[in-house]
Amino acid sequence: MLFTIFAILTLAGAVAAISLRNLVHSVLALTLAFAGLAAVYLLLGAQFIGLAQILVYIGAVAILIVFAILLIREAEPASPSMVVSSWVGSVVAVLVIFGTMAWAIERSAITQRATGSQAEASMQQIGNALMLRFALPLEIIGLLLTAALIGAVTIALREKGEGR
């Protein structure tokens, strides 16, 4: 029952995020969707992931998007249309994709034999996994984040002499 409430909250936030005209409202709706997802993760017992979702997505990514919106201060959207000129084909494609995925989920055999075992991931186990089995991906992620940091700063740097 709790799952249904959080699922509806998440979907409402997601739909609002892509369909509101005002960008800041759209980002706040996205934050609501993230929060709903974090609640779903906590319900499923993935404590670390739920808290990391709040810390990273709501505390960093949403604020990043908000800062970018404030830096792109275009005049309140004067354009009448919010959608791309080729939106009809996109809608058809999206519906087809959803139909395929829903059919696959309903008919798949793996969902029938799903176990309800009490999955548990203590911090010790996650720490051990990160340091022993997944040490290489951890280091690569560190490298990736450094590269993204330097790259983002370089791309957004205002060069000397460039007009405002």
Binding site: I58, G59, I63, L70
Partner: protein, 399 residues
């Protein structure tokens, strides 16, 4: 949770609130007992920390007044101690002016989000022995997740007021808060490395032993002391208090991101900021100062919650002292300090705690780790101030 019945008077005094709560909960039908128990704890936390907020406002104003060579408020009640009552009545009865162009939903939600996030941080703080509301496996992570939601509410407040000063104040505040969140979390990671767990209750238990009369608090180690100083500076910056209060600089941009708020919503912002300050100080006490542990081994008969609040009040007094003494930092000075001084110190601290754990017990590890902490501090400090020409310090006095 049924505990062994206490057998001495000291233990009874220590566990008095837990015993009281269990007694109240016994009168409730069986299925509802866990929920009632948590509800009583939540109400107790709200009541205690809201009163602490009230006491702090009057202490701060009197303390600042004395530092500035004047009396603080002294009209309401004996020595002005009933001032919070007057402040509360004022805040609740002031006219609630909402700007016409403000974004109504977001404007109203911003203080609510702030207060909810601030109060939820207390769920993992161990206020006394067996007195943490929940013992989450990832308690410290939960704490930082809740504190990062506070930044979002600052933005909501600044943007929804449709006022360029509010927006500017909000952007400055968010830039400051995310810059100082990095040394804050890195300083906590050193404690997590030393204690081996993310659970706040476990971290306090690891600091509960005594050698001779001195406790095993993490602040009494070189890396712990450096980490504590970093943590406290970052806490002051996260709560937008002087000397880091440029985002709400009263002499520059009126009140920054809550310029357009009045009456009850302003009181909620004020409350939320102080509650956030207390919560972060509480985490600092848990991580570095031994939580509810007594400072000397012969003082363990004093109840645990008394020690927690004594340490909290000491930290609050230090914050008030800093507010009255130091001038405000400029925005670029603030950001330089965070990224060029605190971040390298926090990283060096991480390496130091690793070295501490691997060296054998004794004088050697104290020496090595102290050198590893002090030398970069001096070099970075002098280097940044004097543009990397480390030379003899020259004092210039006014003639």
């Amino acid at each position: 949770m049924i505990l062994a019945p206490p057998n001495t008077a000291a233990e009874t005094a220590d566990q008095i609130f837990v015993i009281l709560r269990d007694w109240i909960v016994r009168h409730v039908p069986g299925g509802l007992q866990p929920i009632f128990s948590d509800l009583i704890s939540v109400v107790a936390i709200l009541a205690v920390f809201a009163s602490l907020f009230a006491i702090t406002t009057v202490l701060e104003r009197k303390g600042l007044g004395r530092i500035q060579n004047r009396y603080g408020p002294n009209r309401v009640g004996p020595f002005g101690l009933l001032q919070p009552l007057a402040d509360g009545i004022k805040a609740l009865t002031k006219e609630n002016i909402v700007p016409l162009a403000a974004d109504q939903t977001v404007y109203v939600l911003a203080p609510v989000v702030l207060v909810v996030a601030a109060f939820s941080m207390y769920a993992v703080l161990p206020i006394g022995r067996n007195m943490a509301l929940t013992n989450l496996d990832a308690g410290v992570l939960f704490f930082f997740a809740a504190s990062s939601v506070m930044e979002l509410s600052v933005f909501m407040a600044g943007w929804s007021s449709r006022n360029k000063y509010s927006l500017l104040g909000a952007m400055r505040a968010i830039a400051q808060m995310i810059s100082y969140e990095v040394p804050l979390i890195l300083a906590s990671v050193t404690v997590i490395m030393a204690a081996g767990s993310l659970s706040t209750v476990t971290i306090v238990e690891k600091q509960a032993g005594y050698t001779g009369i001195l406790p095993h608090w993490f602040i009494l180690t070189p890396w712990g002391f450096a980490g504590f100083v970093l943590f406290m500076i970052a806490t002051i910056a996260e709560s937008n208090r002087s000397p880091f209060d440029l985002p709400e600089g009263e002499s520059e941009i009126i009140a920054g991101y809550f310029t357009e708020y009045s009456g009850f919503k302003f009181a909620l912002f004020f409350l939320g900021e102080y509650i956030g300050l207390f919560a972060m100080s509480g985490l600092g006490i848990t991580l570095f100062l031994g939580g509810w542990g007594a400072p000397l081994s012969f003082l363990t008969w004093v109840p645990s919650y008394i020690w927690f609040f004594a340490k909290l009040l000491t930290l609050i007094a230090v914050f008030i002292w800093l507010r009255g003494t130091l001038p405000r930092l400029r925005m670029d000075q603030l950001m330089n300090f965070a990224w060029k001084f605190m971040l390298p110190m926090a990283l060096i601290n991480l390496v130091t705690v690793g070295v501490w754990e691997f060296l054998p017990h004794g004088v050697l590890r104290w020496l090595v780790c102290s050198v590893m902490v002090v030398v970069p501090y001096v070099l970075l400090g002098r280097g940044l101030m004097q543009g990397w020409k480390v030379e003899r310090r020259v004092y210039k006095f006014a003639e």
